[in-house]
């Protein structure tokens, strides 16, 4: 996808409120946007460093809980006599906190698992997510456990003059999510198209060779983990302020799976892949709704995952790219043949 196409896509999304006036429509887009941000962040680890993080929802959940707690205020009794009290903070500030804390956790996981690869990395990340979920479930004094944190202040009110009606609030939320998504995309793009991204790809493609030319692979794995976790934390923060209720179910493994499906179907290791996957799997439940029960919807997800691995192992974006390149070279070839009467100036490889 060219940069022009990317901006056209964003412009089209930004123009939607002009033509659409349905609350539910924007609700679907907001949720889709939040999960697409999550998928983009996962892609940085899974797609570019080649390390499958199946605990990605931990960063999302940490972001959600941080945003909820900072904006609601909390107290932790540290000793018998000393209690740490945090007064409620504005929503924009709590969102920054969620990005920061999730990023720190990413750093921690990156450091922790820097020596493990492949299946071991997967399991460390799953374990981390489970531990965090169990903490959220059991530390009732802080998190309310299964009773959930309620009435989280919305981000939308943080903007003055925009609280007239439910549709307006949805639209403001929509723009906030769109803004964060675009910003995240640009950050990831910047990383990928620099020496940082090249080092990550080198780790994925050939770790020994990467080391031998002087790439400190650990450093870049940790860096990818930090960026990835921070962006996932932002998605979690947005989720908390939008849905306004957070319970330990935000750590459900199925959310990680949703993000993984988005990345893999769209095309891991491509910038546009998670966005394409995010749009498809963000909208799919809405098409399935009314036709099926949730169980069948999930079964369809599972089946699609298997089918994608079988038939589109690289994902949709690389497949389309390949098709497009083949189509263009065929067209060029026809032109070239016509011009040079059978002699193709371009060298063709078998």
């Amino acid at each position: 996808m060219t940069t022009t196409m990317q901006w056209l896509f964003v412009a089209a999304l930004a123009g939607l409120p002009l033509v659409m006036h349905d609350q539910y429509f924007f609700h679907v887009l907001i949720m889709m946007g939040i999960f697409t941000i999550g998928a983009m962040s996962l892609n940085l680890l899974l797609g570019y460093t080649g390390q499958l993080s199946l605990g990605h929802v931990a960063f999302f959940g940490i972001g959600a809980y941080t945003s909820a707690l900072v904006s609601l205020g909390f107290d932790i009794q540290i000793t018998e006599t000393y209690t740490f009290v945090l007064a409620p903070k504005p929503a924009w500030f709590s969102l920054i906190c969620s990005v920061t804390l999730a990023g720190l956790c990413g750093w921690f996981i990156g450091k922790l698992s820097f020596r493990v690869r492949g299946a071991y990395f997967v399991i460390v990340t799953i374990s981390f997510a489970e531990v965090v979920r169990l903490v959220a479930l059991n530390w009732v004094d802080l998190t309310e456990g299964p009773m959930a944190l309620n009435n989280i202040p919305p981000l939308a009110t943080a903007l003055p003059g925009f609280d007239s009606g439910p549709l307006q609030r949805k639209i403001v939320n929509y723009y906030i999510v769109l803004g964060v998504a675009v910003f995240s995309f640009l950050v990831i793009k910047r990383i990928i198209q620099s020496r940082l991204g090249r080092a990550m790809v080198a780790l994925r493609e050939n770790e020994a060779l990467a080391k031998s030319v002087g790439i400190d692979v650990t450093r870049y794995l940790v860096l990818a983990a930090i960026a990835s976790a921070a962006i996932a934390g932002a998605a979690g923060g947005l989720y908390a302020h939008y849905v306004r209720i957070v319970d330990p179910d935000v750590f459900l493994f199925i959310y990680t799976v949703t993000m993984v499906i988005m990345v893999v179907s769209g095309g891991k290791g491509t910038l546009a892949g998670p966005v394409v996957g995010g749009v498809i799997f963000g909208l799919l439940p809405e098409f399935l709704r009314g036709h099926t029960v949730p169980e069948v919807q999930w079964m369809i997800y599972g089946a699609l995952m298997i089918l994608i691995v079988y038939f589109l192992p690289q994902g949709i974006v690389p497949a389309v790219n390949k098709w497009w390149t083949a189509y263009r070279s065929k067209r060029d070839q026809v032109v070239a043949t016509n011009v040079s009467l059978g002699r193709n100036p371009q060298e063709q490889e078998g």
Binding site: R190, R195, L196, L209, K211, S212, V213
Partner: protein
Amino acid sequence: MNTHSMAGSPVLAVNNLAVHFGGLVAISDASFAVDEGEIVSLIGPNGAGKTTAFNVISGFLRATQGEIVYRGQRLNGLRPHEIAEAGLVRTFQKTSIFGNNTVFENVLIGLHRVSAASTWETLLALPKVRRRERQLRDEVREILDFVGLGHRGEELAGSLAYGEQRLLEIAVALAAKPSLLLLDEPACGMNPTEALSFRKLLSSISERRITILLVEHNMRMVMGVSDRVVVLNHGKIIANGPPAEIQKNPEVVRAYLGHGAQKHA
């Protein structure tokens, strides 16, 4: 500055190196040195410990005993990327490239070490960083032309012919700006024509003031390009000297014949 002809003080010193895998002794008490600007070949029958020595020098394996000193810096305990940072860059016995990337990108990745910019500078894409990126692209072209892959830049590395992949490995290693290049059987699998032009490439690398330590089975190449040959057998160094001397050394002949002379091919 030392040049090829006036080899001087040792830049790499391997002192009393020993490597054990459990009870297995891969290298026992090996010492040798490589002088500035030299092309030194490390030869020996299969299983003599050549690749092990490479792995230890480049930090992929730990020495059980002994030390490795490069330009006064002790390399023991350093990690592979730190050793590359010190100027020692290796290639691998089995072809090792970034197969899913283009040839151009392969070399660009190799330039990581010299593309130095801090993470923040890179994230903010300061003008300085952008300028450097443009320079890097020129450097990639220069390196690809040097090894003779200039016309292959846009192709996927994995789709290159075998001999070209071996050249690409050299290009990637050169991109890391080594002062000492460790080549592990670089000509293995090349046809005679390719091997011949590869010999020329080695000489022109040497002319760039890059010291070369070579592990190679192709004896014609070893004897043709080396300033000095070090012979390993059963983890011990049995000979060390100029090619002409080595060829006449009875112990070397015995070591090779004992293990089958077919390796001379």
